[in-house]
């Protein structure tokens, strides 16, 4: 269709670009590609406005029927124009063209079509649409059963999804920031700006956010007048005032997407999405956690379409979006326009269109009588006004070419056009008021849902509160801002509300056009039509939440922002209920979809969790030590030497060295807790199952902690340094939980006790020095004043000493390996140096460093329990420590540990195992089955917890829990390991494989 004769001359390269108006920078032209073709636009454009400037409306294909779809909106509510942006690692699916800002070189590709947007083979789905109605798949694809996974589902999955995720890791950075403020203003339209001004002028801290690149909201979209000057000037002045205040933060391109408890709001800032690439070291997006004492929600409203036949034809657009394109972007999206409205605000679109030189074919107003506003517009512009008329159907395929209008008399007329501007009224953006469970409240006069009960400390300003006119938005915003700071104790200030029009918000509801032909879409992206709603109703899915789930209405990337209210209104109509009776579906965060990368921030790759490095880490790496993750720690697991073929080879050598000479191992990761106070002894007695009262000063003892349910929780040593001074160790894995548990006991269970609990885990670098030569080695380190002879420093002795010429140290004669052994602790800053010293000193004894592998082997050889045995389900009796359990005192776990199930003799208990064929390998996780019976669950007698190749025995050994274990010593059972194809005969033995008499520890 021809451009109207009176239209001003335009740039031939951007045929729909107006010669002036809007916030775009016409002084610069930038290029972008869409489906491989190059187009031009200007900075300040979105991809959508640039496409429209180039005369392109067809932007994508719908999800199910692959119908051609155009740009409908100018904001984050867009259901249709979803593009893949960028390529390669930065490929970004489902990006709304109406939100994405244009940059030079931007590459955009349409989605969900093959081979091309213009010709999409899958559009045959459209022909099958009589079958593909809501919920059809629940009724089909069941026969034959096997075919679902082999045939039907793969086919469905091939059709699933829109864009494609990148194939490789996202190369961009993301970061998170926490901000605290007195007042958070959400939305930078007229209401939000007034609220921010009012709050800021009182001196309070203010954060104002808007999801768009520019502030101003609809005042910019509508090219409104404020205080007699163009709104954009007023907005600029307001921005400048705010920016000049040190306690005001303005965040553009930032959408608040969630309201959380305690005044916490989450927002996403698109820091660099408008750039080809983020600047070096700078993030692509930033997640804001905003903690606000008060929040003013000034999020405006979103326009909704009217449901009529083939209302999804490209070129059918929201009226407010048409105005945005004209006024914000300087683009007129069509030349011959039909405006279809049921409200006065929508009718105003005519004025903008005429001003931009478009030909308004007709104003179709469903209301029987022209309102005052409509009459005024009609007489001012002289356009054709059709009152009491409705558009029943759009025609055209890839672009609308006209509409059928049913006039007040019922006559059908065809009007030719290339753009239909539709307004069905406005839905306040209330989502952030419902995230904490607030229920929206229907307003009959405005025909929309307004916020109901608000989250604590939130208030409203502007059209989100139903104050639809610019005048009301400004004054409502000002009032909200002022009252927010007043509640925070600021002195009341008077703020002059600028002059602006109090436009009419008159509306007469029209949700869908009756007796329309063609398909009438309610949810564009998910292809839900009014017929699907009828079907859902017919099948009993009347509750709105059922309707949503059955038809998938409102579940697409736009979350039904243009669809939900229309849908439930149609449901209300069919079921003869009111809209409030019908209800609305619950909105959930995020308000706009948020990149997962941004929610992760810094915490990905190696930075997913912090890494803890033990004191000898650097030295260990120099020695070629292989480190493994142990919780957050990186611990050396073995120190391979040339010629050793694998970890096992190395571990054997390390064990042999310890057992024959001496080895050194970093055990600093063990939890260390200092316990002092006059009641320290009583306290420890209550948290350990065994008796500690008798522990003499200068001695250490092994102890076990239970949970209150009687299960073994942790074990370690308790050393006594003074009358009221103990020093305990916990396992590495439980260090944090054990401390927490002790604090629970001291603060909550027994606060009357005088006990102080202080963690000292990181203060001490602690090394096990183990083996027959350990004392000789230490002798070279320990200052001569200290007697560490077997007589002077026997097994289980502890002492405060000095080493290497006066460095304070602690020496513990403890052994996990079963050898004569010590643990020596020095302040952690000397940890590296001490390790080097021990290493040097050990050379003459043939010392080795050993890691967690050898440590594990030796403790298994000695039958000491560790993580695999402390699996949260075992009792002291299960692990053979029943004898340690005190019968005389109260302690955590005593009472429930005595329940029948906990003492049941049938519980598997700890024994040792060795393979009958000594060359066989054992694996932990294998289950025990008696010989001669079937390997079934009934015959499952227990499981292997820990295994090791024992160099001392020359074969594999294991520990495990076996039913009636101790009475089955000597029996041969199967260690059955089907997941690794293992089935090994093992002999049940005592769980000690080295030095059964325990003489070596004493030297």
């Amino acid at each position: 269709m021809a451009r109207p004769a009176n239209s001003p001359s335009r740039d031939p390269l951007q045929p729909q670009r107006l010669s002036n108006g809007g916030l775009v920078d016409r002084s610069r032209t930038i290029e972008f590609t869409f489906d491989g073709r190059t187009y031009k636009g200007h900075p300040g454009d979105t991809v959508a406005s640039a496409l429209l400037a180039n005369g392109i409306v067809l932007a994508g294909r719908s999800f199910k029927y692959h119908r051609p779809r155009g740009i409908i909106s100018a904001g984050s509510e867009e259901p249709n124009a979803l593009l893949e942006l960028r390529t390669g690692a930065r490929r970004e699916p489902n990006t709304k063209a109406t939100v994405a800002e244009l940059f030079d070189g931007l590459e955009a590709t349409s989605q969900n079509r093959w081979p091309s947007l213009d010709f999409d083979v899958m559009s045959v789905n459209s022909l099958l649409s009589p079958i593909f109605v809501a919920g059809f798949y629940y009724k089909t694809f069941m026969w034959p059963a096997k075919f679902w996974e082999k045939l039907y589902e793969p086919a469905i999955r091939r059709a699933a999804g829109l864009g494609r995720a990148a194939d490789v890791a996202d190369p961009d950075l993301y970061e998170k920031v926490t901000a605290h403020t007195d007042v958070l203003v959400i939305g930078g339209g007229p209401a939000g700006l007034m609220a921010a001004l009012a709050a800021a002028r009182s001196g309070k801290r203010v954060v104002i956010v808007d999801e768009q690149a520019a502030l101003g909201g609809r005042a910019i979209d509508d090219a409104a007048t404020i205080d007699g000057r163009p709104a954009r000037d007023w907005v600029r002045a307001a921005e400048e005032e705010l920016a000049a205040r040190p306690d005001v933060t303005i965040l553009r391109r930032t959408a608040v997407f969630g309201t959380y408890d305690g005044g916490t709001y989450a927002a996403i800032e698109r820091v660099a999405d408008h750039l080809p690439q983020p600047k070096d070291h700078h993030p692509r997006q930033r997640l804001w956690r905003i903690v606000a004492k008060r929040a003013v929600l000034a999020s405006g409203a979103t326009e909704r379409p009217i449901v009529f036949g083939d209302n999804d034809r490209p070129g059918v657009m929201l009226a407010g979006a048409v105005r945005s394109y004209i006024n914000r972007y300087g683009v007129v999206p069509g030349d011959n326009v039909v405006v279809f409205t049921n409200n006065d605000y929508g009718a105003t679109t005519v004025t903008d269109l005429i001003r931009s030189g478009a030909n308004v074919v007709a104003l179709v107003d469903s209301r029987p009588k022209p309102s005052e506003t409509v009459s005024r517009i009609a007489s001012a512009t002289g356009i054709k006004l059709l009152n009491g008329a409705v558009v029943t159907r759009a025609f055209g395929k890839k672009r609308v070419s006209g509409v059928t209008v049913r006039t007040q008399t019922g006559a059908e007329v065809k009007l030719l056009c290339d753009l239909v501007a539709v307004s069905g009224g406005w839905n306040p953006n209330i989502q952030l008021t419902t995230h904490l469970g607030g229920k929206p409240a229907w307003n009959d006069r405005l025909q929309c849902f307004l916020p109901g009960a608000l989250p604590p400390s939130m208030s409203l300003g502007g059209s989100v509160a139903g104050d639809f006119s610019l005048h009301k938005a400004l004054s409502g915003g000002a009032a909200a801002g002022a009252s927010a700071v007043a509640l925070e104790g600021a002195k009341p200030i008077t703020i002059v509300v600028p002059q602006a029009a109090d436009e009419s918000d008159a509306i007469t509801p029209l949700w869908r056009v009756e007796d329309h032909a063609g398909k009438a879409f309610v949810d564009f992206q998910n292809d839900v039509s009014d017929k699907d709603i009828e079907l859902a109703e017919r099948e009993g899915f009347r509750a709105v939440e059922h309707l949503k789930r059955y038809t998938t209405l409102g579940m697409a990337t736009d979350q039904g922002r243009t669809a939900n209210v229309n849908a439930l209104a149609i449901m209300a109509e069919i079921t003869s209920r009111t809209i409030p009776q019908t209800g609305i579906t619950i909105a959930r965060p995020p308000y706009v979809p948020v990149a997962l990368g941004a929610l992760a921030g810094h915490h990905r790759g190696k930075s997913f969790k912090p890494t803890r490095l033990p004191p000898s880490y650097k030295w260990a790496k120099e020695q070629g030590g292989v480190c493994v993750e142990t919780g957050l720690w990186l611990r050396p697991s073995y120190f391979p030497r040339k010629g050793e073929k694998d970890w096992l080879d190395t571990a054997k050598r390390e064990v042999n060295t310890v057992r024959s000479a001496v080895g050194i191992c970093d055990v600093s990761t063990l939890g260390k807790v200092d316990v002092q106070g006059t009641d320290a002894g009583i306290f420890l007695d209550r948290i350990y199952m065994n008796n500690l009262k008798s522990l003499p000063i200068g001695k250490a003892r092994y102890g076990g902690m239970l949970r209150e349910d009687g299960v073994l929780f942790d074990d370690g040593t308790i050393a006594r340094f003074g009358d009221h001074h103990y020093f305990i160790t916990t396992t590495t894995a439980n260090a944090v939980r054990a401390l927490q548990h002790m604090e629970y006991c001291s603060q909550w269970l027994w606060p009357e006790l005088d006990v102080q609990i202080i963690s000292a885990t990181e203060q001490w670098a602690q090394y096990a020095v183990a083996g027959p030569k350990s004392r000789e080695l230490l002798q070279k380190i320990v200052d001569p004043a200290f007697d560490i002879s077997d007589a002077g420093f026997p097994y289980l002795q502890v002492g405060e000493i000095t080493v290497c010429g006066g460095i304070k140290a602690r020496l513990f004669r403890l052994s996990f390996s079963g050898e004569r052994a010590y643990e020596i602790g020095v302040p952690a800053r000397y940890g590296d140096a001490l390790m080097r010293k021990l290493w040097e000193a050990g050379r003459e004894f043939g010392a080795c460093a050993y890691g967690t592998e050898a440590l594990g082997v030796m403790r298994i050889e000695k039958g000491h329990i560790s993580g695999p045995e402390l699996n949260g389900n075992t009792t002291p009796h299960d692990v053979g420590l029943g004898g340690m359990v005190s019968k005389t005192k109260d302690f955590i776990g005593r009472v429930l540990g005595a329940r029948p199930g906990m003492l049941d003799p049938n519980r598997p208990s700890l024994v040792g195992f060795r393979p009958v064929d000594r060359s066989a390998r054992l694996r932990s996780g294998a289950h025990f089955i008696a010989q001669g019976v079937e390997a079934t669950a009934e015959n499952d007698d227990g499981y292997m917890t820990s295994v090791a190749y024992s160099p001392s025995n020359g074969h594999w050994i294991g520990l495990g829990f076996l039913k009636h274990g101790p009475s089955r010593i000597g029996e041969i059972v199967r260690a059955y390991d089907p997941v690794r194809g293992g089935d090994t005969l093992v002999e049940v033995v005592k769980p000690v494989f080295v030095d059964q008499e325990g003489v070596r520890v004493r030297g």
Binding site: Y260, D261, G262, G263, T264, R289, V291, L436, G437, P456, E708, D709, L739, Q740, E743, Y744, Q747, W748, L749, P751, E752, D890, R894, V895, L896, A898, R899
Partner: protein, 98 residues
Amino acid sequence: MRIACPYCGERSLDEYLYSGDATVRRPDFASPTAQADFVKYVYERKNSPGQHRELWYHAAGCHAWLVVTRDVSTHIITAVEPAKDVALGTASSMKDTA
């Protein structure tokens, strides 16, 4: 959710650990009904909607155990007291009712 630690001030949820009902107290191990008492104490919970007195641990902060009064249907917190004071009966809110 934000909890106002009486010592540290208001902090976000991620600094705290929740640890259950604060209205149950550890029974006497020597009582003849000890086992039944402990079963109740360890396992049985009122768990009703509305106000809940519960234990939290300021794990990433001062390590204080706290008794928090919170509406579990709205997550609105009305009181936070040191567990130590509650246990000793010296918490300010308890003095009021004592």
